[in-house]
Amino acid sequence: MTWNLFFTQALNGLQLGVLLFLLSAGLTLVFGIMNFANFSHGSLYMMGAYFAAAVYDWSGSFLVAALVAVPGTLLLGVIVERLALARLYQRDHLDQVLATFGLILVFNEVVRYIWGPAPVYLNVPEALSGTIDLFSLPYPAYRFAIIGVGLVVGVGLYLLIHNTRVGMLIRAGASNGGMAAALGVNIPLLNTLVFGLGAALAGLAGLMAGPIFAVRPGMGESILVLTLVVIVTGGIGSIRGAVYSALIVGVVDTAGRAFLPGILREFLERSVAQAVGPAVASMLIYLLMAVVLAFRPQGLFPVRHG
């Protein structure tokens, strides 16, 4: 029984890690290439979830929802980038943070206006509503699907960046944008492309998270903070860092919430453990981040320029 619980929590952690990876990959690329601090990334995740919920409600097909939500978020990201954010690339980080803070407020209110303040429900698709027995342990098929999609996207992203021409341009832009521009690379187009890619990944994460978490206004912010923890821990701008650190943060956060109160009960009085347990569990990943930064200020996998 204990082993079962342990295994289930490990898979839950893995699944949270995959979601965090999808979000942090896009955000870290945007930061690495444009040197742009996009705090409204969580809003794109939220919009992806809402698009999916709306289309699923209308069409009844999760596949159609996915086919609309992901390109829809991509398009939204490109529009926002062209209209507002592209003007901020040359400005300092303070302006970028403020502008994207403003955008978060706008997106939350737009969602509240269209879909109302109450959570919207997005059901698990029929085909994935069952459980899969893994070593005689039932685990929801949908959560397995998330892990699978995450792995596929991760491999795809790796191939895209390391084995294609676009990926080469992205790497060139990241290591020296000015030089790449001088060699004739259309940097503004590349920026829009990368931003769109990040938005699409955020939309995908929102779509997949929809059936697990509640689809509600402001759902992007709590996960954005986790994503920031992932990026800072992994090393800003590093995709490899985002992979490892997303998985670490996902597993540590899930395991902390599941096991820490129980572990503390072994050492502390029951009433104290009950009060302290959840508090420490919710702080665990921040403490992890603090420890990592204390020893490696550049993160676990810093990007090497030059």
Partner: protein, 329 residues
Amino acid sequence: MAEQVHPLRFGFAGAFLLLLALVPVVAPAIGQPHYVTMFSRIMIFGLAAVGLNFILGFGGLVSFGHALYIGIGAYAVGIMAFHGVTSAWAQLAAALAVGAAAAVLIGLVCLRTSGVAFIMITLAFTQMGYFLAVSLTQYGGDDGMPIPARSDLGVGSLDHGAILYYLIFALLVLVLYAANRVVHSRFGMVLRGCKSNERRMIALGFPTLRYKLSAYVISALICVIAGMLLANLTRYVSPAYMGWVASGDLIVMVVFGGVATLFGPVVGSAALVIVEEALSSFSLGLPWGIDALVSTHWLGLLGILILIVVLKLKQGLYGALAAREQRST
């Protein structure tokens, strides 16, 4: 260094402070006593924004996490009052001690990074404080808790709105005066040097981390005091005081008013609180339900306003005065 007197800014700040000083006298006379509360809020957030501007404007460190310290101040008052300790001095000592300890530890970690990483980590630590407050179920958890009694100063009761108002006013003036002295002191010069070229400051032999950490702790403690005042004003503490929106609001105030100006944050705080009040109770009798639309979704309009300010008005309201003075000389 002898400080130059800027007539336009000096006059504006003086007039503004005079206006603030008159509010508790004028507001009841014109039958709008709630203005006392509103202007108390303006000054409290102005105080916090002055604190934030100390490192953001003069040190170049964009902290997205100063609401954490407002929360620490507020919870110190709330928790101690909950356990029957209402002495303002005991609360002040506890709040400053906890605030300083948190600021030193968090500052040491955050200052190992710079730029965007600094912004992200300060936000992350604030969220940590937020979740910690949410998990304190015995102190209200998610919902927050009412505070049984205001802080007891020994002289005069803070239950009297005007006394609390003038206490806040006095603290604001004191902090503004102190900030002015510090910014123009040697310490302030080193801090501003770190902002414009830290590598050179290190080459000159300054232990910049020590300077930046001191500045971070000072600015955090100003926010702790603002938090204590806020708890006394509202008689309520809630995790929302240290939510990410609260941190963002503080930055908005600094930028609205003018980064790296002494009085700017107070102007920015006034602008933001008044815009909030105006939008959230919007009723001009416009057709097609626009009134209700604005008052329910005013945060969205605020977001658009922030976008416009960032894209167009780069120096802020009070900063524009400074630019004007520079043009005319």
